[in-house]
Symmetry: C2
Subunit: 274 residues, 2 copies
């Protein structure tokens, strides 16, 4: 089953279009779970159990695992094992390197860690994206990122259009929809709207919901495709660390359910209006 | 001691301006060393021992370690232990993510793995670079990469200048020379020459020497700074896999020494001409 098929099935079975980012922050993990790598594993496995009814995808960002040094990929592997088999995993790695090296990264993410999809950076070139966007793989190419400094490079004007539009057009031309979507920050709905016009049939992973300030309803209204789909809003800190007390599991479940419901309401309203 | 000071000292003590990339490719490691992660460790430790008289820096690219899955950072850690303390380590990771995540990546590379410098991708924005370019850290920002597709994004024209020049100018303005240099592929000497004019006081890490087709003398002539320094040509496959037979250690030593000598000759000739 392809990533998009698996995502669609998980979305249907949970009536959800939201993704939960699994980003362990050592200082925010409830101290009752202990410390160090095993505390992260315990925490993340409980978060997955608490939220898996409400999420159609999980997105671990590798940065937060690599901070555990030699134990990094043990923590990641043990976390991934707790994710139900029918929920796709997006490894948020933002890799981008010359072709021979990009092959090694793609092999690490898809073969060693069994990712269903991975995020990829475009600066190095299309040949750096290619190993992630073929066979049974799926690349989510950075288009417009969610950070305050996103415009530093992405907004530079090339032939009268911002660079991020140019990147999307080039990737759309190079890679088919089954193998390539885009990362479009939920914090930039106006840019998301422009990109939807350029990439009508592509999935937009939309991080930045919650702690980074992105509003899920605004993001969905901006980026929903013609068929009322194509958007995957993602929240991390606002779900994982909804409470730092003993009730963190229930708080994470409540936050994920509330986000799912808001997303579904926004989607229904936007579809009706058409 | 800062990265640049450590690099200068290692360069003086070895009379060398070359960097060796430590990128284990499972299929190319001599089969006599066995298979799997421990074969990579054995191989890399011997390569380091064979070449450490001729290299002033080592550059492990994390992609080639991550392919070992859960063992990835054990292989990296054990390899790093074999590098003499006075030789700086550049972790070639090309990370680039939103600020909170970039902090986690920088902490992984500099705190958990004790990198002296790291490579960083600029597409996400200057706030994605900042955590790598401060305190006792050093960022090598991708400017012009060594791959055939480098021009896809990097050559796009912004205000009459290619994007890679714009990226370099922005990073030079944002981060001081003690904390920020650039990755400039040895395969693109003409672009390197243009960048030297824009960044006269910055270190250029120049990968792509050897297997990727970059000529060390040409790259040095193009990029040497006013003081006859500022260049760090880097080769990986052409040193590590100089021979795949039983004599691979001697072959790697010979290749590293030959590269060092070529680099020194090119540098001496270019300095004389001025």
């Amino acid at each position: 089953m392809s990533f998009l098929e698996k995502l669609a099935a998980a979305s249907r079975s949970r009536d959800s279009i939201i993704c939960v980012g699994l980003d362990p922050e050592p200082d925010l993990i409830p101290s009752a779970l202990g410390r160090g790598p095993q505390a992260a594993v315990r925490f993340l496995r409980r978060i997955v159990r608490a939220t898996s009814e409400y999420a159609c995808a999980y997105k671990p960002n590798l940065a937060f695992y690599e901070r555990y040094g030699a134990a990094a990929f043990e923590v990641l592997g043990q976390t991934l094992q707790s994710i139900p088999d029918d929920i796709p995993v997006i490894l948020d790695a933002k890799r981008g390197d010359v072709p021979n090296t990009a092959e090694a990264y793609a092999s690490a993410l898809f073969d060693a860690f069994h990712a269903d999809a991975a995020t990829v950076a475009p600066y190095v070139g299309l040949d750096a994206i290619a190993p992630f966007a073929r066979e049974d793989r799926y690349a989510l190419v950075l288009a417009r990122t969610s950070n305050p400094g996103a415009g530093d490079v992405q907004d530079l004007i090339v032939d009268g259009r911002p660079l991020y539009e140019r990147v999307v057009s080039a990737a759309v031309a190079a890679f088919p929809a089954e193998h390539c979507g885009f990362v479009v920050g939920a914090t930039y709905p106006e840019e998301a709207r422009r990109l939807r016009a350029l990439a009508p049939d592509r999935l937009f992973l939309m991080p930045g919901v919650g702690a980074q300030g992105g509003d899920v309803a605004t993001a969905i209204r901006a980026a929903l495709d013609e068929k009322g789909g194509g958007v995957l809003p993602s929240a991390s800190r606002s779900v994982l660390f909804a409470s730092r007390e003993g009730d963190y599991e229930r708080a994470a479940a409540d936050a994920a359910r509330a986000l799912r419901d808001s997303a579904n309401a926004a989607r229904a309203m936007a579809t009706e209006r058409r």
